[in-house]
Amino acid sequence: MQMISMEKKWCAAVCVGLSLCASAWAGGNKLVLTGSSTIAPLALEIGKRFEQQNPGVRVDVQTGGSTRGVNDARTGLADIGMASRAMKSDEAQVLVAHRIAMDGIGIILHQKNPVKNLSDEQIKQIYTGQIGNWREVGGEDRKITVVNKAEGRSTLELFLHHFQLNNPDIRAHVVIGDNQQGIKTVAGNVGAIGYVSIGTAEYEQTHGTPIQLLPMAGVGASVANVREGKFPLSRPLNLLTKGTPTGLAKRFIEFAQSAAVDDLVTAQYFVPLAR
């Protein structure tokens, strides 16, 4: 008999669900954002504040990668796309980018690694496998573990572009997806080298994660230097729209670019726009 009553309950749940459904599908004041997993947490927070200030409006944020943000904005599946990189030339013909924050990419090592400085050339040689031991760059006799990003990630593209490298030439030992995986990998391996978002790395550093950020071309890897545009390896966080935004999307983008969200940008360890 138990089975029957259970099934009855399920039927009831489905019926209630169906009726709820019908009422909600009618709703209209909704903004859908999709794209970069880097931006998604920030967009979510901005969306929440926007909802508070505009009762009745709903902002739905979906993650899935910059490429998806570009595609969804193009096809109209999303009102606004999110991309954690500058637009490519073919994309710029259809889409308009709206910068909401900056992010720097810094090289990280384990804290116990005595190496405090690497030249661009050395980094290049390490990533292409010509240097395989920390001894060769003035460190301890320890094997280098090269941590690289997976194909398609905008951080990877930026890194490759900056160091004039081709991905097939890179001799990686660990390939990672998201930022935190990189930090955890480096924190768990004294011989590792990786590159991640500077804001995130700074946060982890101050909270006791055993990593260190290396300066690049003599410029310290810090949020301040990224903000002032001094740091060589940085990227914009963009919202994308098909053509010039109007209505709700326009209001949201203006809000996301205003000083009213600087605290949210900082709280997600990104760099607010220099206005």
Binding site: G65, R68, H173, V175
Partner: protein, 291 residues
């Protein structure tokens, strides 16, 4: 109903109804599942139609940006990781099922089964998180980089253990008590009963459990992605980082477009074919597969 499996004809109206109902629901399921297959084919068609098959098994490696899609290294990694995990999980899972059935003190049986069910329900992300922060650094101290085939095997073994244990236990539970009592009455030792009566009689169920475990291991994504290192290369040793097919799909799918995307779907298709081959092989050896 003359052709029905157990060949018991029944004139009852309830039976006709039940047969029709279950038949039509089964048909609905078949349609749904056919849709999944159809979509896989449709999405990978771009590569398959352009004679792309050969490209999956030749070339220097997996470099989607330069149009090279050699799947061999990842195929090997997937197979080795799955096999290794099974080699570890099968004896351990079977032993704990036997323990629960024949050796455990009464009060331990239920808690043990709960533990297994709990293990089965822990999300792969948690296994991955644990593997990344505990297991990988441990291996790294021994032999860097730590993220390796070994880490993948260990995590996968842990993940499929409950599947093996639960299905084996269910199979052992189905062994008729008559044969167990008969064996005991004949004066067989516990070892004799376990090895001579229970295990052979539960063989088919255990086998299907192992198959389920293999499928789970083949299909596991997130946990392996977090611990295996994800370097596309043919594994040379246990400490080499490797990338399995599922991790490849997960890592690149949201960033892929055009031919690259089609290639990823095709690798999903390949994964599916591997499982089908496994099932076919098992069916050939064991007669009915899920008996």
């Amino acid at each position: 109903m003359i052709w029905s499996r157990h060949n018991i004809s029944s004139p009852s109206r309830a039976d006709v109804l039940l047969a029709r109902l279950s038949g039509s629901l089964a048909f609905a399921v078949a349609v749904l599942l056919a849709l999944v297959l159809l979509m896989l084919f449709k999405e990978s068609w771009a590569v398959l139609a352009s004679g792309g098959w050969a490209r999956f098994f030749a070339g220097e490696g997996w470099f989607p940006s330069s149009g090279q899609y050699n799947l061999w290294p990842m195929l090997w990694a997937t197979l080795v990781a799955t096999l290794g995990a099974l080699l570890l999980a099968l004896p351990l899972g079977l032993a704990s099922a036997l323990f629960g059935r024949f050796y455990a003190p009464r009060w331990l049986v239920l808690p043990l089964r709960r533990v297994m069910m709990l293990l089965a329900g822990i999300p792969s992300v948690v296994y991955g998180l644990w593997g990344l922060t505990v297991l990988v650094p441990l291996i790294a101290q021994w032999e860097p980089p730590g993220a390796s085939l070994l880490a993948a095997i260990l995590i996968l073994a842990l993940m499929v253990l409950p599947t093996v244990a639960l299905t084996s236990e269910a199979a052992l539970a189905a062994v008729s008590s008559a044969s167990l009592q008969g064996a005991a009455a004949l004066g067989l030792s516990r070892k004799g009963i376990v090895l001579g009566v229970a295990l052979p009689e539960a063989r088919a169920g255990i086998f299907s459990g192992a198959l389920l475990a293999a499928m789970r291991a083949l299909g596991e994504t997130m946990a392996v992605l977090m611990v295996a290192g994800n370097v596309v290369q043919t594994p040379g040793s246990l400490f080499d980082p490797v990338r399995v097919l599922t991790a490849n799909i997960a890592l690149e799918m949201s960033y892929a477009a055009g031919e690259h995307r089609a290639a990823l779907f095709a690798s999903g298709l390949l994964l599916m074919l591997m499982v089908a081959a496994l099932a076919w092989l098992a069916g050939k050896r064991g007669g009915r597969l899920y008996a």
